[in-house]
């Protein structure tokens, strides 16, 4: 336990130091890693702990991103208020989508969410909503700068802002998973009939899980929009949802640290792969997905757990 605590402290210290050691562009990329980590945490709560599959979480990311963009650009709200709003909106939206969706099992939920993911860009481009969403062109957002005249450039400030939100979200997730809710979810996932018999209201928990996971992804979307300073429909197509799936598979299911491993993977691999060819990132993602499913189904987090277990018991 002490070791775990120590490693978290070290990670946090490194995280705080990094922006001062690398370029602004790298800091921006690290901010995106944090954003993805939050989104992956959300998807992991749904898929790893609650056992439901979503191929449409990109839609909730989009919802959160557009919430932030619309509030900032059209209503002039300050950037930091948009994050909790995006979270709340997605919590409700996710819960509502989860209510009917929980009747669907495995493959069929995947199918329905896949449809959501594919249809999202069209919904965002709908011309009746253009006044709000900016249509095909999207919305441009102003980059926030550090408050109270703090001596941080905008990239660094945004990084720390995102870091704080990320820490909050991770702690929240940790509590959820360790507590009654987490245990209930795992019970429902592994032995639904027995769980019902013990008085766990499966339907409610599953919808709530969907809602919470959507909330996380929405928060990530808002933070991502602020970081990138731009939202447009075509960036939120089904490939975003698939990217999140890749992150969860590679990072590791039912694991909080997995979200970080996965986030690093999905942020940096395409950058490297892009040098090879435009098509390469996805071919590599696909190859990694297959590789992990066949060879390392518990993801990087699972492998790390195995290794540290081996070291502890020689």
């Amino acid at each position: 336990m002490k070791n775990r605590f120590l490693s978290i402290i070290i990670v946090l210290l490194v995280a705080c130091a990094l922006p001062f050691l690398v370029s602004n562009y790298r800091t921006f990329q690290l901010t995106l890693v944090l954003v993805y980590a939050i989104a992956l945490l959300g998807l992991n709560l749904l898929t790893g702990y609650s056992g439901q599959i979503s191929l449409g979480h990109g839609a909730f990311y989009a919802l959160g991103a557009y919430c932030a963009a619309i509030l900032m650009a059209k209503a002039g709200w300050p950037y930091w208020t948009t994050v909790p709003v995006a979270g709340a909106v997605c919590l409700v939206a996710g819960f509502l989508f989860g209510l009917p969706a929980l009747r669907l099992e495995g493959l069929y939920l995947a199918l329905a969410t896949f449809a959501l993911g594919v249809a999202m860009p069209q919904l965002l481009k709908y011309h009746h909503l253009e006044a709000l969403t900016g249509g095909v062109q999207g919305i441009v957002i102003e980059k926030p700068s550090a408050p109270f005249g703090l001596p941080l450039n905008p990239d660094r400030w945004l990084y720390f802002f995102t870091l704080v939100v990320a820490i909050v979200m991770f702690v929240l997730a940790w509590n959820l998973v360790r507590g009654r809710v987490g245990r209930a979810l795992v019970a429902i996932r592994d032995q639904p009939v027995a769980a019902e018999a013990m008085g766990v209201n499966g339907a409610l928990y599953k919808s709530a899980a969907f809602g919470v996971s959507a909330m996380y992804t929405g928060v990530a979307g808002a933070l991502g929009a602020i970081a990138v300073q731009f939202v447009a429909p075509d960036s939120f197509n089904v490939f975003l949802s698939i990217t999140l799936l890749v992150g969860v598979v590679v990072g590791g299911l039912a694991s909080i640290s997995g979200a970080l491993y996965g986030a690093f993977f999905i942020q940096f691999v395409p950058n490297i792969a892009d040098e090879i060819s435009k098509a390469a990132p996805w071919a590599i993602f696909g190859a990694f997905m297959l590789g992990f499913v066949y060879l390392m189904p518990t993801g990087v987090a699972g492998a790390v757990r195995l290794l540290s277990a081996k070291r502890r018991s020689p």
Binding site: L107, A110, V118, G286
Partner: protein, 289 residues
Amino acid sequence: MEALLHQVMAGLATGGIYASLALALVMIYQATHLVNFAQGEMAMFSTYLAWSLLEAGLPYWAVFALAVVISFLLGILIERIVVRPVENAPVLAVVTVFIALLVILNSLAGWIYTYTIKPFPSPFPAGLALGGFMSPHEVGAICVTLLVLVALYVFFRFTPLGLAMRAAAQNPASARLVGIRVGWMLALGWGLAAAVGAVAGMMVAPIVYLDPNMMSGILLYAFAAALVGGIDSPMGAVIGGFAVGVLENLLGAYLIGNELKLSVALVIIVGVLLVKPSGFFGKVQVTRV
């Protein structure tokens, strides 16, 4: 009135494409109880292969036949190599493998053939047919779809191999007890589905132009069609396909405009899964307890 008829006819034409792809989905579902998310990309890839053969100078119908055969073999290969390891794995693993397949095929096509849109020829003459309501290609596409359906029906109903495939899909344990090599039946199912998908791709490419992303929307409609008809009913898939095609066109023309058409598919999918999960002609329970 004329406009309505035109929309219905055009809907039947695209409906034929949805029906073909839905048929491929149903065939794989019947054999494996799995939904092949990569069906669209497999069809797209087959169409690109056909395009290469056409560029090499071969005549259309020879290319058509070759593309179908090659796709059949590729389907078998994919089942044996990619799908077999996860046949009994948890659902997430299976879904991940299918999505990986989707993504790999999509990027392979983009890498080999680039993302520039290419025209794909139709074997049917240009102009108008049927009193001006449809193009000869649209008529031809419907005819081809129906021909494929009839051929498959005859195969499954009247040949020993078709009977064996049906048996293996319904009850693999009993099928083994009569000596059926269930694993190969699965591979054959994938081969046939891939072949049908190739036909669908070659029929739709002249309309929407060849591009690595051409099938994603169509796949969605095929899902909707297969669910409406009943995910384990081939006839349902075909009827569902035509129904969805017409519905899409009518809604697009008169109610919601062409922009939200994919949302129609989404609504159909979610609606059917909630209200009548076994579809209109299916018998299977959708929720596994």
